[in-house]
């Protein structure tokens, strides 16, 4: 499938900042499931900086802006050819040992509710690492109902599981937490999802989990949509949790108040209809 992506993130600062530095993890991963036809990241007025591929296989780019900065506009546009590999991250070059993804983070602490869900899910699971991974993903999907607006960026896996509601970030954190307490390496993945004319527009900018299954490798699990990533997904990068995997990490020098708006659309290249999402954070 050929997907066309347009992703604009705008930060506004009032009063203006003395300077802004951002680290971008916004270039599609290189593996057998996707091929970049073209891709561009533009930030008006910014100086381009250090660019490299990190140990997890992600492309990292740095940009800096000297002040006064009242607005940063990050425009990502591109076309990616995708294939369905049933979630398997085949042919991806990386050097981080999978065991390093067993370590919990603040967002994925192995609290009681996490341990309980993992035990319950694995008690009924069939033999084998792959079956165990599917059982955990299914249990998380059952435990958290999709409900936007009830959780925040800082909500932890345990909090979302206790609440029983959340968005894709919460599903993903919960799956990471239950996988890691079950000794399955797991990481947070960000990317894009084309969810069709009847799909939710909110899903265009998406997150899911990857679990490491011995003998196969890293496999994606999208608990929010009860599936493994297929040709509708574009993978950008990974991390230990949402903060570590964030497509944009930035620091602004100054005392201004930040407002951010995001506009994303993911469409099959031949079709004209598109989904787009807008959100505003103050």
């Amino acid at each position: 499938m050929r997907l066309q992506i347009s992703h604009e993130t705008v930060y506004r600062f009032d009063p203006p900042m003395r300077g802004v530095v951002q680290s971008h993890r916004m270039t599609p991963s290189q593996f057998e499931g996707q091929q970049v036809i073209h891709w561009s990241i533009d930030v008006a007025g910014a100086e381009r900086g250090a660019s490299f591929r990190d140990g997890a296989g992600d492309w990292i780019k740095t940009v800096s802006l000297l002040g006064p900065v009242s607005e940063v506009r990050v425009m990502v546009q591109g076309v990616v050819e995708t294939r369905d590999l049933s979630g398997v991250l085949r042919g991806h070059r990386e050097t981080v040992p999978p065991d390093a993804y067993l370590r919990p983070t603040e967002a994925t602490q192995p609290e009681v509710v996490v341990r309980a869900l993992a035990e319950q899910a694995l008690a009924d699971a069939e033999e084998g690492a792959l079956a165990r991974a599917h059982a955990l993903a299914g249990a998380v999907a059952d435990a958290i109902d999709y409900r936007p607006g009830e959780t925040a960026a800082g909500t932890t896996a345990a909090e979302a599981l206790t609440l029983g509601r959340g968005v894709c970030q919460d599903h993903t954190h919960a799956l990471l937490a239950v996988a890691r307490v079950s000794d399955i390496p797991a990481r947070y993945v960000t990317g894009y999802l084309e969810s069709g004319a009847d799909g939710g527009a909110h899903e265009a900018s998406h997150a899911w989990a990857e679990l490491f299954v011995d003998g196969i490798g890293w496999i994606g699990f999208d608990a929010a949509n009860r599936c493994c990533p297929d040709e509708r997904y574009v993978r950008l990068g990974s991390g230990h949790d949402a903060q570590g995997a964030a497509p944009i990490r930035g620091v602004a020098d100054g005392l201004g108040v930040e407002a951010m708006t995001i506009d994303v659309s993911v469409t099959p290249e031949t079709q004209s209809q598109s989904q787009s999402q807008s959100q505003t954070q103050q």
Binding site: G49, A50, V96, Q243
Partner: protein
């Protein structure tokens, strides 16, 4: 250093020197030394005792002495360890051969809090991660040294090594004419040369080196500014540096200057809010991206801490055999890991004979010395170990060597340890000396300055 009934030969003349020193002269010299330390402003911070945390560290005028051949063996042992620790770091951020070979458990390395996935696959210049390795040693017999721990991140205390020598030379110039003592004064220039030797490939011309400090509230701030002075480099805080383009820059009155090598004295977690702790105000946003793309060198390399963890320590002799194919010259203290059931049982049964430490502890805080503890303290520690076994290791109580030390009544033996500072860059260097810490209380085995320890000048006799 006593041997049989007398002191070992390197001390010969010094005992007479101390005996011949009239009491008035001694107290005069002692107050002179204190005045010098005060004037220099050399203090250290003690936490958890209330009051002003800045104190003067007690200085003992009786030097600790090594004969040339004793030192030669020690030097080989310390350098061997520094090479093995760096080989280990290169390996675990690369192919992980030692883990694949089953010589160190994967869990201890990859699940370690100090293991930084952000630097996996990145090889720092010259393959060096730990540029200053501080190895804490104790002597238990004429020819027997044990390593208590390795410090691969930012070992402190080297300013005392230099100041102690400086003050001894000022107060007792005759001693330095009568004895052939190997110099340590070239440490700052060796350090600078070591740091410059690991400048990134993109560096043009003479590498610009800076020291990055968390600021004046840090307990080792004095040392940061002292070393910057001695090396003739800038002392900077995070806010003095910024990232633009492919490089890191320093703000100066003459405009931005490119920085090639950063000797950082701040922890990994605070280096760069875009890579590690987002709330860090001490670091430089974007620095890790510049580092990982080869625009600047950071010493010690982020992630170096995984080699000096107390649980990893147990495996250093294994590293020496694995990477260097050599037999370890310096011994490790046998260590029981409370995380292992059998070890934990042994520790709880023999608590009164053991020294217990926290896995991530330092500075002598949260430590138990079994033979010197009362029943209540032992019971308290047993409960702590049962609650969090993985947080503790235990070691036998060693018969630490003693060194003649000035006390109220004259000269008496007191327990000492030693921290030499090994420099690793293009070459491996060890200045003949180090920081000798002394437990000033009779019978005490705790030499940490935060627990009432003092310092001495350390002499290595020239051949």
């Amino acid at each position: 250093m006593y041997e049989g009934d007398g002191v070992r030969s390197p001390y010969g003349g010094l005992l007479e020197w101390s005996r011949d020193m009239p009491a008035e002269l001694r107290s005069l010299k002692q107050s002179e030394a204190e005045a010098l330390f005060r004037r220099i402003g050399i203090t250290f911070a003690v936490y958890g005792e209330g009051g002003s945390p800045d104190r003067l560290i007690p200085f003992d005028m009786f030097p600790r002495v090594f004969a040339a051949d004793e030192w030669a063996r020690l030097e080989r042992g310390v350098k061997q360890r520094a090479r093995a620790l760096n080989a280990f770091l290169c390996d675990v951020y690369g192919r992980g051969e030692i883990v694949r070979a089953g010589r160190i458990p994967a869990r201890l390395v990859y699940r370690n809090e100090a293991y930084e996935t952000a630097v996996c696959g990145f090889v720092p210049p010259k393959g060096v991660y730990s540029h200053i390795v501080g190895v804490d040693l104790v002597r238990t017999a004429a020819d027997e040294f044990f390593v208590l721990e390795d410090n691969c991140r930012t070992p402190s205390g080297v300013s005392y090594m230099l100041e102690n020598r400086e003050i001894m030379m000022r107060m007792f110039p005759a001693l330095f004419q009568e004895n052939r003592i190997a110099p340590v004064e070239n440490y700052p220039s060796l350090l600078r040369r070591t740091l410059a030797s690991v400048a990134p490939a993109k560096c043009e011309g003479e590498p610009r080196v800076v020291i990055l400090t968390p600021g004046h509230f840090n307990s080792a701030y004095y040392e940061h500014s002292f070393l910057a002075d001695m090396m003739g480099v800038e002392l900077v805080e995070g806010a003095d540096l910024f990232v633009e383009g492919d490089f890191c820059w320093m703000r100066t009155t003459e405009g931005p200057k490119r920085v090639d090598v950063i000797y950082r004295r701040i922890d990994d977690a605070f280096i760069d809010p875009l890579c590690f702790r987002q709330d860090s105000m001490l670091g430089v946003p974007g620095l890790m991206n510049v580092y990982r793309s080869g625009g600047v060198s950071i010493c010690s390399a982020p992630g170096a801490g995984v080699a000096d963890d107390k649980a990893i320590y147990t495996y250093v002799p294994e590293m020496i055999r694995f990477y260097l194919g050599e037999a370890p010259i310096l011994k490790n203290v046998p260590t029981w890991q409370c995380a292992k059931d059998d070890d934990c049982r042994y520790v709880l049964e023999n608590l009164a004979e053991l020294v217990v430490k926290e896995v991530h502890g330092s500075g002598g805080y949260g430590m138990l010395i079994g033979p010197q503890a009362d029943a209540a303290t032992l019971a308290l520690f047993a409960a702590k170990i049962r609650e969090k076994p993985w947080n503790y290791i235990a070691q036998p109580t060693l018969a630490l060597s003693t060194c003649p030390t000035f006390v109220e009544s004259g000269v008496a033996p007191r327990h000492v340890d030693l921290r030499p500072y090994c420099l690793v860059g293009e070459t491996i260097e060890l200045v003949p000396g180090g920081l000798t810490r002394v437990a000033l209380t009779e019978g005490s085995l705790v030499v940490n300055s935060s627990q009432g320890g003092g310092v001495k000048d350390t002499w290595v006799m020239a051949e």
